[in-house]
């Protein structure tokens, strides 16, 4: 099939950007979205033009590199799917596809479709870890953990840090990301000990970086390729209350 791609091109963080149109010919429905971009890039290279920069690594939905806004939806808007896992059979011959980088003041565009998501790392550096000595790996089942807690921690730990939540949020808020990180450590015995310090530090860092405020639109949950629920945001809000009234310094 033949498609028109309208892609955001921007030479560098401070360069002005604009949309440019490209014709993608002979696209196979079996290609993934990223393969289709590779295909277009090969053509651009052959013509001696600058290929489109986009971030990718695993191409199997686990690294979180590949997110962009496709036709106005994060990762193209396919339920529980990262862009690398979207196949071209979802598009029709003759379609125009608009490809735009995440827009957030906190995630500046580095080049074309690639943005700087390192603010997420900074939030993790602030508190997304366990720093108490939990000893060696215990025997299986030596520390009983309820299935509920396991499920919650596992669901939250699915987060791949792709940034779709921030990108899709009308307020540019990072609450889904932060709450997933808070949840997956808070519900487990090893992480529980430091919940107060963690919650305070991560919220303070998130605010300092300039993310927006969550107003519970729930766009993030719908955009999340790992389908992380905003119930984690409610949980993080509970952690906030705990941290607010805690005597811990």
């Amino acid at each position: 099939m033949e498609l028109t791609l309208r892609v955001w091109r921007q030479a560098g963080p401070n360069a002005p950007g604009k949309f440019e149109d490209y014709q993608a010919k002979d696209v196979s429905p079996d290609m993934s979205f990223l393969e289709m971009l590779d295909f277009v890039n090969e053509d651009l290279i052959r013509q001696g033009k600058e290929p489109i920069t986009f971030e990718h690594d695993c191409r199997e939905g686990i690294c979180g590199c590949c997110g962009t806004m496709v036709n106005g939806k994060a990762h193209g808007g396919f339920e529980g799917t990262t862009l690398c896992q979207v196949h071209m059979r979802h598009f029709k011959n003759g379609d125009t596809i608009i490809v735009e980088p995440w827009r957030s003041r906190v995630f500046p565009v580095l080049k074309d479709l690639m943005v700087d998501r390192s603010p997420f790392d900074k939030i993790l550096h602030a508190g997304g870890y366990v720093s108490v000595n939990v000893g060696g790996a215990p025997d299986a089942n030596a520390i009983p953990i309820s299935p509920n807690a396991q499920d919650t921690a596992m669901d939250a730990a699915q987060c791949i840090g792709c940034g779709a939540c921030v990108a899709a949020c009308p307020n540019g808020s990072a609450m889904l990301f932060v709450s997933a990180k808070v949840s997956h450590l808070d519900v487990l015995p090893q992480g529980k000990v430091e919940t107060v310090r963690r919650t305070r530090a991560m919220i303070a860092k998130m605010d300092e970086l300039g993310f927006g405020n969550c107003t519970n639109h729930a766009e993030c949950e719908m955009a999340c390729p790992k389908k992380i629920s905003i119930s984690h945001i409610a949980r993080a809000n509970r952690s906030f209350w705990r941290a607010l009234f805690s005597h811990e310094s």
């Binding site: 906190v106 927006g212 405020n213 766009e219």
Partner: protein, 219 residues
């Protein structure tokens, strides 16, 4: 202490303030709507109800001070949140569709909020201040009958009540989510919010409509 203050002024802290003040207003609206139903029993019932409230004396003052505080918090914190959120996006998207989470209520909070604020000012000027300022203001039932017999004012009241319903349809659920109580994106709190919105919208509008259509109601 400094840490506590920092936390209250953090993004989540501000949202908790929005949630608590918002729920306070919901409580007020329930009482207000219940009180308004005295209209159906005629002018005497309405004026008698108003007199009883006024007779509470210092309690009224406390309640009023509480309402003013809640209003200040809700409005001022709301403005800072909106400004910050506009800054956080930076460049707008050339094309952005809803991912499917937003509702008409959540989308319009920034519009319905200011609308309600303006309405509250007008509403107080029409029905509350006359009695606070002068002894010989006409009875409340007279004021109500007079305002609501005018089709433009009656229309304004009904439209505003629908806008209020929209605000509540997101705000009520959202407040619980912010306080940490909401279990999921859907669920009973969502449904309760819609139901409450309907009760407020339909209840207040019905009364305005009755006063407008039944000229003898408040005679």
């Amino acid at each position: 202490m400094v840490r506590r203050l920092d936390m209250v002024l953090s993004s989540i802290g501000k949202k908790e303030l929005m949630a608590l003040s918002g729920l306070g207003f919901i409580g007020f609206l329930v009482a207000h709507l219940a009180g308004n139903f005295t209209i159906l029993s005629g002018a005497e019932a309405l004026d008698g109800y108003a007199a009883k409230l006024e007779a509470l004396g210092p309690l009224v003052w406390v309640a009023e001070a509480g309402m003013v505080t809640m209003a200040l918090v809700h409005v001022l914190v709301g403005i800072t949140l909106v400004v910050r959120n506009l800054q956080a996006r930076g460049q707008r998207y050339a094309m952005k569709k809803s991912e499917g989470g937003r509702t008409i209520g959540s989308r319009t909070m920034w519009l319905t909020g200011p609308w309600i604020l303006v309405f509250v000012g007008i509403h107080l000027a029409q029905f509350t201040f006359p009695h606070k300022l002068t002894e010989e203001a006409p009875a409340l039932s007279k004021l109500v009958a007079e305002q609501l017999s005018d089709p433009i004012w009656a229309g304004y009241y009904v439209v505003t009540m629908l806008i209020l319903a929209l605000h509540v349809s997101h705000g009520f659920w959202s407040a619980f989510q912010t306080l940490g109580a909401a279990p999921s994106r859907s669920g009973y709190l969502r449904d309760t919010a819609v139901l409450l919105a309907f009760v407020f919208g339909a209840g207040f509008s019905l009364l305005a409509f009755m006063v407008f259509n039944v000229p003898d109601l408040l005679k």
